[in-house]
Amino acid sequence: MKRKRRTEILINSPDELAEELAKEIEQIYLLKVVQEPENGLVMLKVRETAKKSLFYLGEVFVTECKVKIQDSIGIGIVKGDKPKLAYYLAIIDAAYGASLRETRAWTSILEEKEKELLEQKIAHNQEILKTKVSFETMDVS
């Protein structure tokens, strides 16, 4: 599973999912923490729609961690102050980078979680759609 999809699933799921997968790797492989979880900023570059040019909206507070497994350096980065989650994400990223065999079994776990998230999203969207306006045009003749 590609990084964009898996990081979205892992970050939007309860932290226990990332913890569970990372612990699996931690127990078997030798890890080296290249960068302890630390706070920092990510500047947001956005496109405005009047002239379709770019500008900086502001910065978002993040936690970032780097972990090395074999020759692969994994990065864990997440919005907010979440040192443990950043560490687990870095291990998972490094595990995928090193193509560890454990990652093959993760695909089905992540896909299952993705389905749950989708159901939650649909329920959330239904909630918002309840505020959709149904206009009635008044007869003024």
């Binding site: 405005e48 500008f55 900086y56 507070f61 102050d81």
Partner: protein, 379 residues
């Protein structure tokens, strides 16, 4: 104007800081950060937007420390931000990706996807709700479970996975009512890295407007509509929702699917339609629409609307109106700069004031002497 350092008052300052803490605590209650985060959404969004730093918990902490004073909270967050390393720049965020929670148009009744009111005070009676005086957590939980239960039972079943919609502007562009425009990928300037110089770039203007003080941005936009400007706007589309953020791998070139998702931020976006007269061939005049743009952190609708008005004003400089003058607008709307300068006036200016006092005394003495000599001459 000269500045002179003074010494003294250390003990008084220490006692003053103790006094400040006692003002915060003297009622014997301590505000929980979680309570601020849960119940003061509007203030948190305002503080995050003005400090240009997105983190609800830190904003709640700043609000607690500042005893609810937004200008002080923004100052605290801006100062803290300056201690943090900037680790990455996000991939370009296209606002079409916004996961809509609220979306309205004042220009068109029927917009594709419909108008979603979301959470808004727009249609509430502005009457004080005295039942909130004694609201309990138990009652809140009961209300929430009833609300969630009703959603589960009463909603029409839909399979809408993503509430993302096409832009109203795109339809107007397709119809030729707004001039078409392609993507401009010129790297933006960053006012936090390089001081503003005039004439400013569009990216600098938008960055300063989005981090501007809500009240200042609103007042100048209001003045612009009332007559101290030349703008007659209508909201084409207003959206509130979550924007997903992605970053590229810092060392490896990869495809879009290799990006990191790091989370989402809540924003308010406004596309303002402004009719303008355009001169055609043989002196004929047509009406066209131009667009003013507003985007800010959190649900700050008045600010985003005001930003879009000032964006248009500054795109059309006009020395007859201060709201169309970039130096007037951009130099005066920043919370830390304006409140910092105004509040520094209460700091000691003893030596500079003494020198002014001496000058005034000398002037008075000289004019008295002149009066005496004139009287003597007339005698």
């Amino acid at each position: 104007m000269g500045y002179v350092a003074v010494k003294g008052g250390t003990i008084a300052i220490e006692e003053s800081i103790n006094r400040l803490t006692s003002e915060r605590l003297q009622k014997g209650l301590v505000l929980d950060i979680k309570n601020i985060e849960a119940g003061l959404r509007g203030l948190i969004d305002q503080v995050m937007s003005e400090s240009s730093l997105y983190h609800e918990t830190l904003a709640a902490l700043a609000i607690k420390q500042a005893e609810g004073n937004p200008e002080e909270a923004v100052f605290l967050l801006r100062a803290y931000r300056s201690t943090l390393p900037r680790k990455h720049y996000s991939k370009v965020i296209e606002s079409e990706e916004i996961k809509v929670e609220r979306r309205i148009s004042a220009s068109f009744k029927d917009i594709p996807g419909g108008q979603l009111l979301g959470a808004t005070t727009d249609y509430t009676h502005r009457l004080l709700n005295f039942s909130l005086m004694n609201e309990s957590e138990k009652e809140a939980q009961e209300w929430l479970s009833k609300f969630n239960e009703e959603i589960g039972h009463n909603s029409e079943k839909s399979e809408i996975i993503s509430l993302t919609f096409p832009k109203v502007l795109d339809y107007l562009r397709e119809e030729g009512l707004i001039a078409p425009c392609g993507n401009n990928d010129v790297e933006p300037h960053d006012v936090t890295r390089k001081s503003l110089e005039f004439p400013s770039s569009r990216s600098e203007r938008l960055q300063i407007l989005t981090r501007g003080q809500t009240g200042a941005v609103t007042s100048l936009a209001y003045a612009s509509i009332r007559g101290y400007g030349a703008v007659h706007p209508t909201v084409g589309e207003l959206r509130v929702g979550q924007l997903p953020i992605h970053i590229s791998h810092p060392f490896e070139l990869g495809e879009e699917e290799d990006d990191y998702y790091i989370g989402e931020v809540k924003v308010t976006e406004v596309e303002m339609l402004i009719p303008v007269a355009v001169e055609r061939e043989y002196g004929e005049k047509d009406l066209d629409f131009e667009v003013g743009y507003g985007l800010c952190f959190g649900q700050n609708e008045t600010k985003a609307i005001s930003m879009s008005i000032l964006d248009y004003s500054l795109e059309h400089p006009n020395h007859a109106f201060p709201s169309h003058n970039e130096e007037f607008v951009l130099y005066h709307i920043d919370s830390v700069e304006s409140t910092g300068f105004i509040s520094h006036l209460k700091m000691p200016h003893y030596v500079t004031f003494q020198s002014k006092l001496d000058s005034v005394r000398k002037t008075k003495t000289t004019s008295k002497k002149d009066e005496v000599s004139m009287v003597e001459q007339s005698l």
